[in-house]
């Protein structure tokens, strides 16, 4: 079997009688931008929440970096190396942009109560590294000038970038983005596209859940299309684009009439 960075097989999740995700399998190769698309209510975000441990799956196996894992708690998943963003931005609003990214480095740092209280040399060194690295990351996503602004005061597009910086702070192997372009205007989307391509160039794999088909088709290496909780197509963007099932799902019965 080929070594995939991430794979999930036979994912299932019911909410009451509704089957939100039904037998979905995903495989992401190292260095890929993997797109998960589908119309509204197709189960993309549910899938995403299963992978990141926010929901417990009814069935399914997960493996990451060659090891199976049980996404029982989001903090364990994050510690393993899958960092995520949220569809509705969830920043720490009372903190500055810099502090938000510093929180993202939680898994990369060790110091506990004693270190903090005694302010040991190791703790001071770590703090210094945290703040420097956080600032670097803010510059990387292009909002370095906002480092000391409150997260809540940033513009919408910048908040999205900050979420990405915060996710990158944990040095993840897989960056999972839940609709990062939602609510963005055309210019912001273009800049987001550039950022995502840069992140891929720097060697990170990306799981991208997106509504905006154009963005997905432009940057993804592989795409899986969901509809009503099931995988209806899988392949490269151009393959997927020509699939009748996908056209059917997106346009409904329109092309019949």
């Amino acid at each position: 079997m080929t070594q995939f960075l991430f794979s999930a097989t036979g994912l299932k999740k019911h909410f009451g009688g509704v089957s939100a995700v039904d037998n979905v399998s995903l495989r992401i190769e190292e260095g890929q931008v993997f797109g998960l698309i589908g119309p509204n209510g197709a189960g993309k975000t549910t899938c995403f929440n299963l992978i990141t441990g926010l929901y417990t799956p009814d069935a399914g196996q997960f493996s990451f970096k060659g090891k199976t894992y049980n996404p029982a708690s989001p903090n364990d998943v994050a510690r393993m190396g899958i960092a995520r963003t949220f569809q509705n931005i969830r920043l720490f609003k009372s903190m500055t942009a810099l502090e938000n990214v510093a929180v993202g480095m939680h898994t990369q740092t060790r110091q506990g109560v004693l270190g903090a209280v005694l302010r040991t040399p190791a703790q001071r060194r770590e703090e210094q590294q945290v703040l420097e690295h956080a600032l670097d990351l803010l510059h990387y996503v292009g909002i370095g000038q906002c480092a000391h602004h409150l997260a809540a005061h940033l513009s919408y597009g910048d908040q999205r970038r900050l979420e990405i910086a915060r996710a990158l702070a944990s040095k993840p192997s897989l960056l999972a983005l839940d609709e990062p372009a939602a609510g963005m205007n055309a210019t912001e989307k273009l800049k987001l596209r550039e950022l995502l391509l840069r992140i891929r160039e720097d060697g990170k794999s990306i799981l991208l859940i997106e509504h905006d088909v154009k963005l997905v088709m432009g940057i993804c290496d592989q795409v899986t299309v969901l509809d009503y909780g099931k995988v209806i197509e899988y392949g490269t963007p151009s393959q997927v684009q020509q699939s009748p099932a996908v056209i059917e799902a997106y346009l409904g019965g329109l092309h019949h009439g």
């Binding site: 990141t52 903090n75 720490f92 939680h106 898994t107 109560v113 903090a116």
Partner: protein
């Protein structure tokens, strides 16, 4: 911090504050010993408010039963520094024929640790709860502790029930007993003043611990949990451990304050640890500015000192104005106290001295 641009100015400022704090009981003592008592009680409240601030202000967990930890600390000290246990249990009397006289260096950490244990005990079952629900459970917890203290006098007399524990030994450090005026380097220092310096030292330690925690990885994790627990988890923060840590640390400060209260009063009873106390400490945190250490200290000093000041002022003022005491001082005191809280929350819901975020951020700028 802007006032002191150079290191020298910083040192001068620091010395001035230190001198002022050291001289404070002597100045207050000139007005009467009751004022030094008020100072001491106010310092105890500062410790309590700072402890609760970790739970409520930093981690955003609404705790209405915080006084339970104060009570635990007070009883740990009370039981281990009074003849109560040796009087009631022959086995303990046999073990300690000379009576229980534990050193303060054992009693303070022990009070903190037992209180921290109770903090975890409260935190454990309430990890999934937030906001109102957590408040109700913690309120219940506070009452349970008080009821236990009230009723654990039969069949085994552990807490002596509503009568409380008497004859608690005063603090004694290096042979210096804090029970009467002592001669220190030719200066007669009253016991009250000694307590003041002890409480001040403990308060300063607690302030230092709080400040350093707040500006650390742990403090950031707490704030993250307070702002958005789901996102905090997604950042790999183990919210369970972080919340338990907040409960334990907050409780341990309450335990220290309780132990000191016990030693200071020489007497503890369940009556001192009612729900009202929890609410007052919470008011201090909220009035001062949740999560902001100087604000919380200000809130504690104001709410601890203000009623006492009114107590001293209301009666003479009435006598001066009307020639007689028309309304009982206690009633006016509660009235003004309540009114102040209402007005403060209407006009300053963020607290009197809330966190100035831009300033806090500037301090952290890496260079």
């Amino acid at each position: 911090m802007k006032m002191f641009n150079t290191r020298q100015q910083q040192i001068i400022g620091f010395l001035l504050v230190a001198i002022a704090l050291a001289a404070l009981p002597w100045v207050a003592g000139m007005l009467g010993n009751s004022w030094v008592r008020i100072l001491n009680i106010a310092l105890l409240y500062v410790m309590l408010a700072l402890g609760l601030n970790i739970v409520v202000g930093f981690a955003g967990l609404l705790d209405l039963g915080y006084v339970a930890f104060y009570a635990v600390g007070a009883y740990v000290y009370g039981l281990l520094a009074s003849p109560h246990l040796t009087d009631n249990f022959e086995a303990i009397a046999a073990l300690f024929p000379g009576g229980l006289h534990l050193s303060i260096w054992v009693l303070i950490p022990l009070s903190a640790m037992v209180a921290a244990f109770f903090g975890v005990l409260l935190g454990g079952p309430t990890l999934r709860l937030r906001g109102d629900y957590l408040a109700i459970v913690t309120l219940g917890f506070g009452e349970i502790i008080r009821l236990f203290l009230n009723n654990l006098n039969a069949p085994l007399n552990i807490t002596n029930g509503p009568q409380g524990i008497n004859m608690i030994e005063p603090v004694s450090i290096a042979g210096l007993r804090f029970s009467r005026t002592v001669d220190l380097f030719g200066l007669d220092v009253p016991a009250l003043h000694l307590y003041y310096y002890l409480f001040l030292a403990l308060t300063l330690i607690i302030i230092g611990v709080c400040m350093r925690l707040q500006q650390s990885r742990i403090g950031r994790a707490w704030t993250a949990i307070r702002d958005d627990e789901t996102a905090a988890k997604a950042m790999g923060i183990n919210t369970r451990n972080m919340k338990l840590l907040a409960f334990a640390l907050g409780a341990s400060f309450g335990g220290v304050a309780g132990a000191m209260f016990s030693a200071f009063q020489g007497f503890v009873s369940p009556e001192s640890f009612g729900l009202m106390e929890s609410i007052i400490v919470l008011c201090m945190v909220v009035l001062g500015g949740m999560g902001h250490i100087p604000g919380v200290i200000l809130g504690a000093l104001l709410l601890a000192g203000f009623p006492e000041m009114l107590r001293q002022v209301v009666t003479p003022v009435q006598e001066f104005l009307f020639g007689a005491v028309l309304v009982d001082a206690e009633i006016i005191r509660s009235l003004i106290y309540g009114l102040t809280m209402v007005l403060a929350m209407l006009y300053r819901p963020q607290g009197l001295w809330p966190q100035g975020k831009s300033k806090a951020a500037r301090k952290q700028v890496p260079t």
